[in-house]
C-alpha cells in the first residue's frame, strides 16, 4: 500500500459515508417515510471506493439498482442523494427517479439503473466517446466503467457489451461485483461458469483481474493496474471480478430465507471491509484509532444533516410530472 495519510483518510471517509448512509436508510425505511424499492450497498463499500478513488471527472461510471455506493464514491452530493431518495423536488433528480435512478452526469455518474444488465452497453458507449476524444496530454485515455453484479452478468446485454468493447477496443472496464446472490438465487446456481465471472470476459478476449472486494487495498492496487492498462490507447477493455458481500437483504424488506445459519453474523465479523481497513491502517500505524473515530463521527454528522434536510426539503408539485420529458416539443 503506497497511499499517503491524506489519501487513506479520504478513502476511509468515503467508505464510512456510504456505510452510514446505508445503515441509516435501513432504519428510516422501516418508518415508512421513504417510498419505493431501495437496495442497500452495505458490505461492498471497498469496491466502489477502491475503484472510484482512481477516477477523474472525465471518467464515467454506469451503476446498477444497488447504486448509492457508486454514486457517493463518484462524488454525488450526499444531501442531493438523500433528498432524491426522500422524493424531494430538491433531490438530485427532482424526485423523479428515486433510489434506483440517481444520476449526476457532470460528475461522470451516468445513472443507477433499474434494469439489470442495462448498464454495460451504456458504459461501452461512453467509453467509445472517450476513445473518440482521444488521450490527454499524458497520453492517457479517459475510461468508462460498468458496474455489474453476479446476476447482471447473465444478461445478453452484458455479453454483447463485452464483445462490442473488445472488437472496438473501447476503453471500458467491466467491474463485476460478485456478492454471491442475485435476489434470492445463489451464484452457484445462476452463474454457469462455476461461479467464475471473470473467465467469461476472458473468453471475449479481454484481460481480466480478480481480487478480494472486501479488502480496500486489494481493490485499489488491482484497479491501478487495470486502469494503467485501459488508459493506454490501443489496449481496449478489461474486466475485474471482486469477491464481495452484501450485508442486508436484496431489497429492504427481504426476509433472506436463503441465507445460511449465522451467515450474516459471520460476514459482518470476517468480511467487513471497513473493519479490515481499520485493522490494517492502525496495525501499520498509518492512522490512529482517534483519527478514524473522528471520521466516523463526521460521517454520522453528515448523514444526520442529510436526513434532517431531506425531511424539510420542498416536495414536488403535481404539475412537475410534466417537466423534463423532452428538451423541446
Amino acid at each position: 500500500m503506497q497511499l499517503n495519510r491524506e489519501a487513506l483518510t479520504r478513502a476511509y471517509r468515503q467508505m464510512k459515508l456510504i456505510r452510514e448512509f446505508e445503515e441509516r436508510l435501513h432504519e428510516e425505511i422501516q418508518t415508512g417515510e421513504i417510498a419505493g424499492f431501495t437496495h442497500l450497498y452495505c458490505g461492498q463499500e471497498a469496491v466502489a471506493v477502491g475503484v472510484c478513488e482512481h477516477l477523474t471527472p472525465r471518467d464515467k461510471i454506469v451503476s446498477t439498482h444497488r447504486g448509492h455506493g457508486h454514486c457517493l464514491a463518484k462524488g454525488c452530493d450526499v444531501n442531493g442523494m438523500m433528498k432524491e431518495i426522500w422524493g424531494s423536488q430538491d433531490g438530485l433528480c427532482n424526485g423523479k427517479g428515486g433510489s434506483m435512478h440517481i444520476a449526476d452526469i457532470d460528475k461522470g455518474m451516468l445513472g443507477a439503473n433499474g434494469i439489470v444488465g442495462a448498464g454495460a452497453p451504456i458504459a461501452v458507449g461512453a467509453a467509445l466517446s472517450n476513445k473518440i476524444d482521444g488521450p490527454d496530454d499524458d497520453g492517457k485515455l479517459a475510461i468508462s466503467i460498468a458496474f455489474s453484479g453476479d446476476g447482471a452478468c447473465n444478461q445478453g446485454t452484458t455479453f454483447e457489451a463485452m464483445n462490442l468493447a473488445a472488437v472496438t477496443k473501447a476503453p471500458a472496464i467491466f467491474v463485476f461485483e460478485n456478492n454471491h446472490y442475485s435476489e434470492h438465487t445463489g451464484d452457484a446456481y445462476a452463474v454457469g461458469t462455476s461461479k467464475d465471472i471473470a473467465s467469461r470476459a476472458e473468453a471475449f478476449g479481454m484481460k481480466v483481474w480478480r481480487a478480494d472486494g472486501t479488502d480496500f487495498f486489494a481493490v485499489y492496487d488491482c484497479m491501478r493496474e487495470v486502469l494503467d492498462y485501459v488508459r493506454t490507447p490501443g489496449n481496449g477493455p478489461a474486466a475485474v471480478e471482486f469477491d464481495t458481500e452484501r450485508f442486508f437483504g436484496h431489497f429492504e424488506g427481504d426476509p433472506q430465507r436463503y441465507r445460511g445459519e449465522g451467515e450474516l453474523d459471520r460476514l459482518r465479523a470476517t468480511r467487513d471491509c471497513i473493519k479490515k481497513f481499520r485493522e490494517s491502517v492502525t496495525g501499520a500505524k498509518l492512522l490512529s484509532d482517534e483519527d478514524l473515530d473522528k471520521i466516523d463521527a463526521e460521517a454520522l454528522d453528515a448523514i444526520e444533516t442529510a436526513v434532517q434536510e431531506s425531511r424539510k426539503a420542498p416536495r414536488p408539485q403535481p404539475e412537475n410530472v410534466l417537466d423534463n420529458v423532452y428538451i423541446s416539443y
Binding site: A35, G36, F37, G87, S88, Q89, C93, G95, K96, G97, G98, M100, H101, N113, G114, I115, V116, G117, A118, G151, A152, N154, Q155, G156, T157, Y181, S182, E183, H184, T185, G186, D187, A188, Y189, A190, V191, G192, R257, Y258, R259, G260, E261, E263, R315, P316, Q317, P318, E319, N320, V321, L322, V325
Partner: protein, 337 residues
C-alpha cells in the same frame, strides 16, 4: 366459492393446471427462489408468492428457475410451446418486456402466421405490471398498449381474483400465446373464486361491473376498481354508470362497449397507460366509428400523461388516474350540452 387473494388465485390456478396437465411447466427468475443457496430451493417460492410450493410438488424439470435473462426466458417459453409443452413464464416486472421484446413480438406472436398456420404456440407470459408502489420509471409501467398491438398475441388483464383464476386457466388451456397482465397492486385484493377446477373465463367477453344508464365507463386491470369507486360515488348523486371491465384487450369485446354506448351516449375510458396509441385511443376510435350517432358528448379519456412513471409519491399520484379523476370526467360528459 372460496375467498382468495388475487395472488393466491393465480398460484392455485397454475398449480391445479400443472396437476391436471403434465405439459404445463413454469419458468422465470426466482420462481423457485433459493437455488444455489444455503437456504435451498423454495427459500422464497417466487417474489410475488405466485409459485410457492411448486418446486416441491413438481420438481426442477417442470419448475425452471432461470438466471436473469429475460430474452432467454421469453424465447424458451416460445420453444417449449412449439415443442408441445404449455409454458407459463414469468417476467418479474412487465417493464422488462423491453429486454425481451424480440422473442415475444418477432417470434412467439408471429410463428403461426409466418408458418402458414402449421404451428401451435400455447405459451402464457405472466407480466406483473402497473404503478402504485413508487417503484419509478422502470418498475411501474402499464404495457397493455404494446402487447394489444401485436397480432398473434392475446392479452388478458384480470381485475378481480375470480377473473385472475378464470382468465389464467383459459390462458393456459388456450392454444394461442397469451400475455397475462397481472396488476401488482391487486395481488392482495380478496374476492370469491369458484371452486370448479374447470372454471374458465372465455376471452373476448367483458364483465359488467356496475350497471347504469347515464354514462359508460370502460376500464381494465386496476382501473376497474377506480371506475367502480367513481360509479358508486356518482350513484349517490343519482348518476348511473355502466362500468365495463374489458377482461381481455385482445380479443376486444366490441359489442359490450357499443351496446352500452348506444344506451348512454356518453363514454369515459380509463387507461393506466400514457395517452398516445393506447387502449383509450383504440376504444375511442371504435366508438367514434361505429356508434357515432349515439354519442351525446365528446368521449373522455382518463389516462396517465405522456411521461414516464415518476418516483415521488406526489408525482406518482398525479400521474395515475384516480376515482376522483374518473368521476370528474363522467360529470364533464354529462355537462356537455
Amino acid at each position: 366459492m372460496a375467498k382468495l387473494m388475487y395472488r393466491d388465485a393465480i398460484r392455485n390456478t397454475i398449480f391445479q393446471e400443472m396437476q391436471r396437465d403434465e405439459r404445463v411447466v413454469v419458468l422465470g427468475e426466482d420462481v423457485v427462489g433459493g437455488m444455489g443457496t444455503a437456504g435451498g430451493p423454495e427459500a422464497i417460492g417466487g417474489i410475488w408468492s405466485t409459485s410457492t410450493g411448486f418446486y416441491d410438488a413438481f420438481g426442477p424439470e417442470r419448475v425452471i428457475d432461470t438466471p436473469i435473462s429475460e430474452s432467454a426466458i421469453m424465447g424458451a417459453a416460445g420453444g417449449l410451446a412449439l415443442a408441445g409443452k404449455r409454458p407459463v413464464a414469468e417476467i418479474m416486472f412487465a417493464d422488462f418486456i423491453g429486454v425481451c421484446m424480440d422473442q415475444l413480438w418477432n417470434q412467439i406472436a408471429k410463428f403461426r402466421y409466418m408458418f402458414g398456420g402449421k404451428s401451435v404456440c400455447p405459451a402464457v407470459i405472466r407480466m406483473p405490471c402497473g404503478a402504485g408502489y413508487n417503484a419509478a420509471a422502470q418498475h411501474s409501467q402499464m404495457i397493455s398498449q404494446f402487447v394489444t398491438n401485436m397480432p398473434g398475441i392475446k392479452v388478458a388483464m384480470p381485475a378481480t381474483p375470480a377473473d385472475a383464476c378464470g382468465l389464467l386457466r383459459q390462458a393456459i388451456r388456450d392454444d394461442d400465446p397469451v400475455v397475462f397482465l397481472e396488476h401488482k397492486f391487486l395481488y392482495a385484493m380478496s374476492g370469491e373464486v369458484p371452486d370448479d377446477p374447470d372454471f374458465c373465463v372465455p376471452f373476448g367477453h367483458a364483465r359488467l361491473a356496475r350497471a347504469g344508464e347515464d354514462v359508460t365507463i370502460v376500464a381494465s386491470g386496476m382501473m376497474v376498481g377506480y371506475a367502480e369507486t367513481a360509479a358508486d360515488d356518482l350513484a349517490q348523486d343519482g348518476i348511473g354508470c355502466d362500468v365495463i371491465d374489458l377482461r381481455t384487450t385482445s380479443p376486444l369485446d366490441e359489442e359490450a362497449i357499443l351496446d352500452s354506448v348506444e344506451v348512454t351516449g356518453r363514454l369515459v375510458i380509463v387507461d393506466e397507460a400514457p395517452p398516445r396509441c393506447s387502449l383509450a385511443t383504440d376504444i375511442s376510435a371504435l366508438v367514434a366509428n361505429k356508434a357515432f350517432a349515439s354519442l351525446k358528448a365528446p368521449i373522455e379519456m382518463v389516462t396517465a400523461p405522456h411521461t414516464p412513471v415518476p418516483f415521488a409519491r406526489e408525482l406518482e399520484g398525479a400521474y395515475l388516474p384516480s376515482p376522483v379523476k374518473v368521476a370528474a370526467a363522467v360529470r364533464k360528459t354529462l355537462e356537455y350540452r
